[in-house]
C-alpha cells in the first residue's frame, strides 16, 4: 500500500479533494445520498480555516454560494436531484453573472421525491438546462473515487478559468462507495487566477465592481450571450474528456458514464474472455460532450449500445452525433435499479442476433 492511501467514500473524498483544491467555503443542506459531503465539510472545512454553513434550504445554500463566489472565493455546494432542482434558478443567475463555483450532484432516482438509490436520470437537467436561459455548465462525471478527487480539483480550476459553474455529476454508488485515494500530508495550494472583477470592496482605489445578471437592453443582452457562447466554443475544443476501454478493435462499442461505465467494463471483460470484440467509451465530460470521438467510432462500428441508469437520456446526444451511420441501441434501468453486467451481455447478444 502506498503511503498516505486511505479508503474513503466518494462523498468524503470529493469534500477532502475540494478543500485541497482551495475551496474556502461550503454551503449545504442535508439530502441523501450526498449528506456525507456536508458532514465532512462541517468538520474539516472549519479545521482548515474555511467557512461551513448549513443553510435553511437548498435555495438559500446556492445563494450563499453566489455571494461567496462574487467575492472571488473558491466555493462549492452539493446536493442530490430534488435539491438540485431547487437550486436551478440561482445556477442560472450564477452563469449569467459569470461567477465560478462548483456544484456536486449525487443523483438519486426521480421524478418527484422518487427514491434514494442511484440514478442517472438527471442528465437532461444538468447537461441541457440547469436553469432558465441560454447557458451551459461544464459537467464532469467521474466513475471512481480516485478520479473524483482529480476531477474536483480540475472543476475548481476550470470554474475560475472560464468564470462559470462547474458540475460534478455523480450518483449514489460513487457517493457511497469507498475506494483507495492518496492524499499527501501537505496541501500544496495552487496560485489562483486574479479575480479583478470580485466584489470584495473597492477600497476607494477603483470604480465599484458589479456582479449582475440584469441587462434590459436587448442588443446588449444578446451580445453578452453571444460572447459567452464564444467561450463555450473554446471549451468544446479544449475541455472534452473521454476514456476509451478496448475500443480500438471493437465491433460493438458501449457508451456509458459514471458508475454505469464500470458495470459496462465488467460486462466487456466477460465478453472479451469469450472472444467478443467489444469496448467501452466513457465520456468523462458530459458537457462538452465527446462528439468527435463518437463520430469517429460511428464510422467504424456496426452498433453502439448506450447504457444508462435512466430511460435513456444521453442516448439522444449520441444519436445526434451518429446521424444514422450505425445502429444505436439502449440498455438501462431506472427508479434506483442498477443495470447488471448480465443484462448488458444479454442486450449485446440480442443485438448480435439482430433482434
Amino acid at each position: 500500500m502506498k503511503k498516505n492511501t486511505y479508503l474513503m467514500k466518494g462523498n468524503e473524498a470529493i469534500a477532502e479533494g475540494a478543500i485541497r483544491a482551495g475551496c474556502k467555503a461550503f454551503f449545504g443542506y442535508p439530502i441523501t445520498p450526498q449528506t456525507e459531503i456536508a458532514a465532512y465539510m462541517s468538520n474539516k472545512m472549519r479545521e482548515s480555516g474555511g467557512v461551513y454553513l448549513q443553510a435553511e434550504s437548498e435555495i438559500s445554500a446556492i445563494n450563499m454560494v453566489l455571494g461567496a463566489a462574487a467575492t472571488g472565493t473558491r466555493v462549492m455546494t452539493s446536493s442530490s436531484s430534488p435539491g438540485i432542482s431547487l437550486k436551478t434558478e440561482t445556477i442560472s443567475y450564477i452563469a449569467a453573472s459569470d461567477l465560478p463555483c462548483v456544484i456536486v450532484d449525487v443523483q438519486r432516482a426521480g421524478p418527484g421525491l422518487g427514491g434514494i438509490q442511484p440514478s442517472q436520470a438527471d442528465y437532461f437537467q444538468v447537461v441541457k438546462a440547469l436553469g432558465h436561459g441560454d447557458f451551459y455548465c461544464l459537467v464532469y462525471a467521474p466513475s471512481g473515487v480516485g478520479e473524483a478527487v482529480e476531477i474536483i480539483h480540475r472543476a475548481f480550476d476550470k470554474a475560475d478559468e472560464y468564470r462559470m459553474p462547474v458540475i460534478i455529476l455523480a450518483d449514489g454508488i460513487l457517493g457511497q462507495m469507498m475506494e483507495p485515494v492518496c492524499f499527501d500530508d501537505e496541501i500544496k495550494q495552487d496560485k489562483l487566477v486574479e479575480k479583478n472583477w470580485a466584489t470584495s470592496g473597492h477600497q476607494e482605489k477603483r470604480p465599484p465592481n458589479i456582479v449582475n445578471s440584469l441587462i434590459l437592453n436587448v442588443n446588449s443582452l444578446e451580445q453578452k450571450i453571444v460572447d459567452r457562447f464564444k467561450k463555450y466554443e473554446e471549451i468544446k475544443l479544449k475541455e472534452v474528456m473521454v476514456e476509451e476501454y478496448l475500443v480500438d478493435d471493437a465491433e460493438i462499442v458501449i457508451i456509458a458514464y459514471g458508475s454505469t461505465a464500470r458495470i459496462a467494463k465488467t460486462a466487456v471483460d466477460s465478453m472479451r474472455a469469450d472472444g467478443e470484440k467489444i469496448g467501452v467509451l466513457r465520456p468523462i465530460s458530459l458537457w462538452p460532450f465527446p462528439n468527435d470521438k463518437i463520430e469517429e467510432i460511428s464510422k467504424k462500428v456496426g452498433n453502439i449500445l448506450v447504457v444508462e441508469m435512466s430511460m435513456g437520456q444521453m442516448i439522444l446526444d449520441v444519436k445526434a452525433v451518429v446521424e444514422g451511420r450505425c445502429k444505436v441501441d439502449f440498455c438501462g434501468r431506472t427508479g434506483g435499479n442498477v443495470p447488471t453486467p448480465t443484462e448488458i451481455i444479454d442486450k449485446v447478444s440480442s443485438i448480435k442476433r439482430g433482434d
Partner: protein, 176 residues
Amino acid sequence: MEGKTLFAGFGGQGILFAGKVLSYIGLIDDNNVSWLPSYGPEMRGGTANCSVCISKSPIGSPIVLEPENLIVMNIPSFKKFEASVCVGGNIILDSSLIKDSKSREDIFYYDIPATYLAKKNNLEKLGNIIMLGKFLKIIEYKDKETVVKGIEKSVSKKRKELIEKNIEAFEIGYNN
C-alpha cells in the same frame, strides 16, 4: 485474497465495518479494492449489507451480485442471498442467529456462533469481526500483521481503545 465478498446482516451488527476491515487488508496487500454499502432507511434497524471487491486488476462494477463469499449474520439476509452465491462459493454464517436449513449442495457452508462467542468473551458487538476471522481462516489468509493493520486503519481515531478488542475478536474467529 482476491474475490467478491458480500457482508450482510442487521444494521448495528457492524456489517459495514467488517467489510471495511477486509477492504483495508486487501489494500495493504496492494490490491485494488472497492467497498459499497447498502444505504438509506433500510440501515435504520433494517438489514444492512456491503459489497467488497478485491482484485489485482482494476475493479469494474463494485456491486457484488454473485458473491464468492457471503458472510451473513441474520435470517432475512441468509434467505435473500443464499441463492446468489456462485457455485463453489462460501457462506460463513452466524449459527447463533441463523438456524435455517441450508438448501444448496454446490457451495460450502461454515457455521460459527459469532454472536454467542462475542457475548461469552465480553466482546459484545464484535461478532462481525469474529465472522471476519473465521472467513480469513477459511480462505487460508495467513498474514496476521496485515489483519492488525487493517483493523487499526478501520477503527476511528477517536476510539483507539477498540483496536485490542477487535484483534481479540479476530483471533477467536480465526482459531474457532
